[in-house]
């Protein structure tokens, strides 16, 4: 074999043709192992554990929006049967009480939503109810924020503004110890 001249060698290039194949191989590996699992959900802050029962007798009845869910996944809102679909509007009306009805909350600061379920309630139903109640607050915050700051309520807002809104309409959702009538599966 003839010895290549130095000048020729300078012009030589590394063959990059197989680079694509190597990259493809890696790509396919990552494609297979990937789970674009962005975890989303309803964020909840649980109350700290205390051994004594909370005393709710001192609350005025008009300020409590009680939601009961039984083991048949039926709803009882303020002692009347209701559907999940109407829960959000009713909760919003209760919290804000725009027409100053005597049977709804005195004001958003006094309003308390009380949620109680059974051990036999379906998780699906429970979460749907929780979602609606949280949705009611989210919508109210959005409306207030829109009126005051001209933008919907979001985590990107300055902390002071968020705090002002949450002071105006604090989210009080208390969950009672569930009843134990239904059958667990």
């Amino acid at each position: 074999m003839a010895k290549t001249k130095t000048r020729d060698r300078m012009n030589n290039e590394i063959n990059a043709g197989s680079m694509a194949d190597i990259a493809f191989l890696l790509l396919i590996f990552f494609l297979v192992t990937t789970t674009i699992a962005e975890d989303k959900g309803i964020l909840v802050k649980l109350p700290p554990w205390s051994d004594e029962e909370p005393d709710i007798t001192r609350l005025k009845e008009r300020n409590v929006f009680s939601v009961l869910v039984n083991a048949q996944n039926q709803l009882l809102v303020r002692e009347e049967p209701a559907r999940i679909g109407e829960l959000r509007e009713r909760a919003k009306e209760f919290i804000m009480n725009p027409t100053k009805r005597p049977d709804l909350a005195e004001g958003p600061r006094n309003a308390i939503i009380s949620l109680k379920n059974d051990r036999g309630t379906n998780y699906d139903t429970y979460l749907a109810v929780y979602n609606e109640l949280k949705g009611a607050y989210d919508e109210l915050w959005d409306e207030l924020s829109e009126r005051r700051y001209g933008q919907p309520y979001s985590e990107e807002m300055p902390f002071a503004q968020r705090k002002a809104i949450r002071d105006e309409i604090p989210m009080v959702l208390s969950e009672a110890e569930p009843t134990n009538f239904g059958e667990e599966q």
Partner: protein
């Protein structure tokens, strides 16, 4: 038309594939970034319900997952068909939760610990009893930030 017919005679030049590796690499890096190597093998069937008021969990390392659901077909002979709890990659009971939380906590720096979130991935069909037990245990363990994992619902409720 003559403008086009002129070209037809010529043989088309080969498309240069020199930039192909770059494109592939770009895709590769994208997938490497978004990849989370699946760390636990799910032994339960978990179909989370759908909801609308969702929050995105930002820092993955600050989240621990608690799965609740019925064992899948292949594990039913061992664990039965009633809903069970899975922590990490093993089926556990409620009493294992404090240890599980502690094991996750020690891996994190002190200043980030208050921001730990427990994500509850619960199957829509299970009843609240077992979920309630888990919640009570979490409250007793002082792990108060929780997340009910759910998918995005597009339509409205009935």
């Amino acid at each position: 038309m003559s403008k086009f017919s002129k070209k037809r005679g010529k043989s088309s030049p080969a498309i240069s594939t020199a930039s192909l590796p770059d494109i592939i690499f770009m895709l590769l890096f994208f997938f490497m970034m978004v990849t989370v190597l699946r760390d636990s093998d799910l032994k339960l069937q978990v179909n989370t319900p759908e909801a609308t008021q969702l929050t995105k969990l930002d820092e993955k390392s600050l989240v621990n997952y608690i799965y609740i659901g019925r064992p899948t077909q292949q594990y039913q002979s061992v664990y039965g068909t009633s809903p069970r709890i899975q922590l990490g990659d093993k089926i556990s009971t409620v009493d294992d939760i404090p240890l599980f939380l502690e094991q996750h906590k020690v891996k994190l720096p002190e200043n980030k610990r208050p921001r730990i979130t427990s994500s509850l991935r619960v199957d829509g069909d299970v009843t609240m009893g077992i979920v309630q037990d888990v919640k009570t245990k979490l409250r007793k363990s002082n792990q108060l930030k929780i997340n009910y994992s759910a998918g995005k619902r597009a339509g409205s409720l009935d």
